[in-house]
Homo-oligomer: 147 residues x 4
Amino acid sequence: MPTNKSISRDRSDYPFWTPVSIRFSDQDPMEHVNNVAITAFLESGRVGLFGHIFSGTRLPSRGIVLARLTVDYLNEITFPGSVEVGGRLAAAGDRSMTTHYAVFQGEKCCVVSESVNVFFDPVTRRSTAPSAEIRAVLERALSGPSR
Amino acid sequence: MPTNKSISRDRSDYPFWTPVSIRFSDQDPMEHVNNVAITAFLESGRVGLFGHIFSGTRLPSRGIVLARLTVDYLNEITFPGSVEVGGRLAAAGDRSMTTHYAVFQGEKCCVVSESVNVFFDPVTRRSTAPSAEIRAVLERALSGPSR
Amino acid sequence: MPTNKSISRDRSDYPFWTPVSIRFSDQDPMEHVNNVAITAFLESGRVGLFGHIFSGTRLPSRGIVLARLTVDYLNEITFPGSVEVGGRLAAAGDRSMTTHYAVFQGEKCCVVSESVNVFFDPVTRRSTAPSAEIRAVLERALSGPSR
Amino acid sequence: MPTNKSISRDRSDYPFWTPVSIRFSDQDPMEHVNNVAITAFLESGRVGLFGHIFSGTRLPSRGIVLARLTVDYLNEITFPGSVEVGGRLAAAGDRSMTTHYAVFQGEKCCVVSESVNVFFDPVTRRSTAPSAEIRAVLERALSGPSR
């Protein structure tokens, strides 16, 4: 399957968006949003993107686990207001998938991030190859215009 | 100043509303939103309400501190989606103010809450009586139709 | 069953203690621990206390739900370091139990809190009267020297 | 200055350790500690390590900002209990430093992580080269036995 490892800061590269409101308690003594809260924003975007990609499939509940997360902090995010988390499928491997995210506050790209998630068998609790149905969904998402 | 201690579950009693998006990580093993996250929702509503009430006044930054919080959990809140936090000024004392909140997910009132906040002098770090300007704002908010 | 509604600030009234380390991200722009983090400290104390009280019983997993939480903020908690959360059973009702907590940072009592928890049937998802075994445990805890 | 990019899973490679207690609310519906909480553990380790390395220096408060975070999730972390976060200085650049972390629950290495932090001028709010004093501290930490 195709691979694209660069994390874009361009809104138009992200087909799926999740809005997240910023909470007062997301802030730390630096008077900006703490990096821990940003990983919660990214998780909201990730869960939203996965719901979008796998909607209508028989992907088992808890059938994907997070294996690796990379976060680049480009600009501060400040309370109050909200952010938008753009997400896209970037690559698919034999047992894993790579997704990219960009967090915008207004027109400013504040964070880009990459997640590697592993397909997981909730019964054996081990990584597994995804079903043919899931692989087809991934290939379609990677080749489509709305990637 | 007038006092109203009952915490209403009626949307029409709350003049100010703050939307808060629910995050995946707000959930706990009970598969509902954890009570800790709910206090973050309430704080978002509180900060929003205070911004609304004190907009345009010379209330010092960090001039109000939380002294007491009561939370009644009526119904579960579930991911995904968002909640709306209604807020209202319920009473004002010599050095404190009492505010009420109701958290709705859709049409369901899930949580009601009362906060007691104390006016605080950031220099002496002690409670203080609010200025005449602030007292006037509170009296107007308590008597007005949009209370 | 007996009832004790006053929330003690005296260490010797709390038979069970849970240490909680403070995290950098618990802080907010006021440069103290945010009230939301404090409810996480209290929950740690509550889960620890319940484990202590109900150890060895057949209380069903998820057989208790939080109905009401009251928190009094007495003194600031500051990073770094840790707190200790003291817990005690304060009262037991037909379908509920009331527990009290005091959060100390060093020798300073910073927070006291009361929780009302309801016995819950995970199958019907409704409140329920606890079993005779659980009632006996509660009565023993309320009357014993280690209350 | 020397560079070491591999993130060790060996306890003996980490000279500085920060214990962090796990909270009930760190868990998510997968009944393990959520990845967002793990970034809070890592931040505790990072702040602890920086305090250790820069103790006694004139590093300005808020003189370091997080630019990049990478987290590898190797094994689940489960409530209750605590983790230990080992930290070490891995490399130092002209305006940045790279640190490594390993999170252990008991004898199991559950997470390894790398942070890139940038030296920051709180006045200009831009990256800056660290002072000669700070550079000397970094070189000593990178060459010493307790690295």
